[in-house]
Symmetry: C2
């Protein structure tokens, strides 16, 4: 993220790259845990969450110290505040990935979902994996156009989310009650990861360019 931040924010930039990478990894591995299903992958995500939390803590500490420096020629304060919120958004995405992994682990040795749900959840995971790659890319190449694509694709993710409910209510559904409960939870976790991804994309656009072309600037401070 050094291409976006000035020298003063260099350490924060490096930590932001680390947290984005760790969260991208957590999202992809939780998808692997869910869809194969794979217990080792689930445990990997659960074990990896602490590092994400620590990175967030470190980034926030550094942002607060920068705010305290009171140097009028320094980084725009709104950028520092947005960075703080972006780190928190990443941390929440990591938590949601961990919740997915925990659901897989709880269900074990049963599969968390019945076979007829696989296609739908596979497609949702494809969106999340693509979104993760785009977010990581945005931090290193300042490509704010990518943000528009993340926002557009999230609508499709929301539609797939709605379809999981239709599936559970249909005659096609062969799952147990526990699997229905897990379907609702897992679909929600994934939908929330997507929402946070949109939030993160908007914040990166704001940090890079100083504005969000799709929203009232005040709304940029929304934490989802």
């Amino acid at each position: 993220m050094r291409v976006i931040f000035n020298e003063e924010m260099r350490q924060v930039a490096d930590d932001m790259d680390r947290i984005a990478g760790a969260v991208s990894q957590a999202i992809k591995t939780s998808g692997k845990a869910l869809l194969e299903p794979n217990l080792d992958a689930a445990q990997e995500v659960i074990d990896g969450d602490q590092a994400i939390d620590q990175l967030e803590g470190s980034i926030i500490d550094q942002c607060v110290r920068l705010l305290a420096k009171q140097n009028p020629v320094a980084t725009d304060l709104r950028v520092i505040v947005s960075t703080l919120r972006l780190a928190a958004t990443f941390e929440r995405m990591g938590d949601l990935s961990r919740h997915i992994a925990e659901a897989v682990r709880r269900a074990y040795p049963d599969p968390p979902l019945p076979p007829e749900a696989h296609d739908l959840f596979g497609r949702m995971q494809d969106f999340l994996n693509q979104m993760s790659d785009r977010l990581v890319a945005m931090l290193s190449d300042r490509d704010t156009k990518v943000a528009e694509q993340i926002i557009i694709d999230d609508d499709q993710l929301d539609q797939l989310h709605q379809q999981t409910f239709d599936l559970a209510l249909s005659d096609e559904w062969t799952g147990s009650k526990q699997q229905m409960i897990d379907l609702v939870l897992l679909a929600r976790f994934m939908e929330r990861i997507g929402d946070h991804g949109v939030s993160a994309a908007r914040r990166v656009v704001y940090i890079v360019s100083g504005f969000d072309p799709t929203k009232d600037p005040k709304d940029l401070e929304d934490i989802d």
Copy 2:
């Protein structure tokens, strides 16, 4: 909240009281919407959410302006950052209350939950109502002991949350598939409101006293 903040933060204090009051109202009215059920109450919560979002936006704008003032004798920057996060937490509690109301409205004219779920959800709502009152009280009387009670009671809320799953999986369950889906969602929304309440309580303790006796200070910057 003027008893907690200095003169410089007076406007922020008043807005924080307003947002806490509006969120407390939203939590209680969403409970009424769910348990009676009551469509007008649901609509009231849905309509009232915009005001909460606007208050959060205003509080954040003011905090950023205060951060920009760079006055070394002014409010501790960590307090300003914590206030920003507290406002975001309240806003999220408002959103979750709106999600509860939207589920009630979607289910109408069917009740969102079958009769056997009423007792459990009623008890969960009692906890949320009590927590709301305590949060509002904390902001006006600096009573940080109340925070401990909020934290303890949240464990009980989590237990009730687990019991909703047991109920859905039991022979006692008479609900439709849609009602099972709504049970999982509603229980999660309520559990998340409780989690955010704990977060909010910890932040108020930090703002009042400068420390959280139960956690590493770095973790205080967690946004849930």
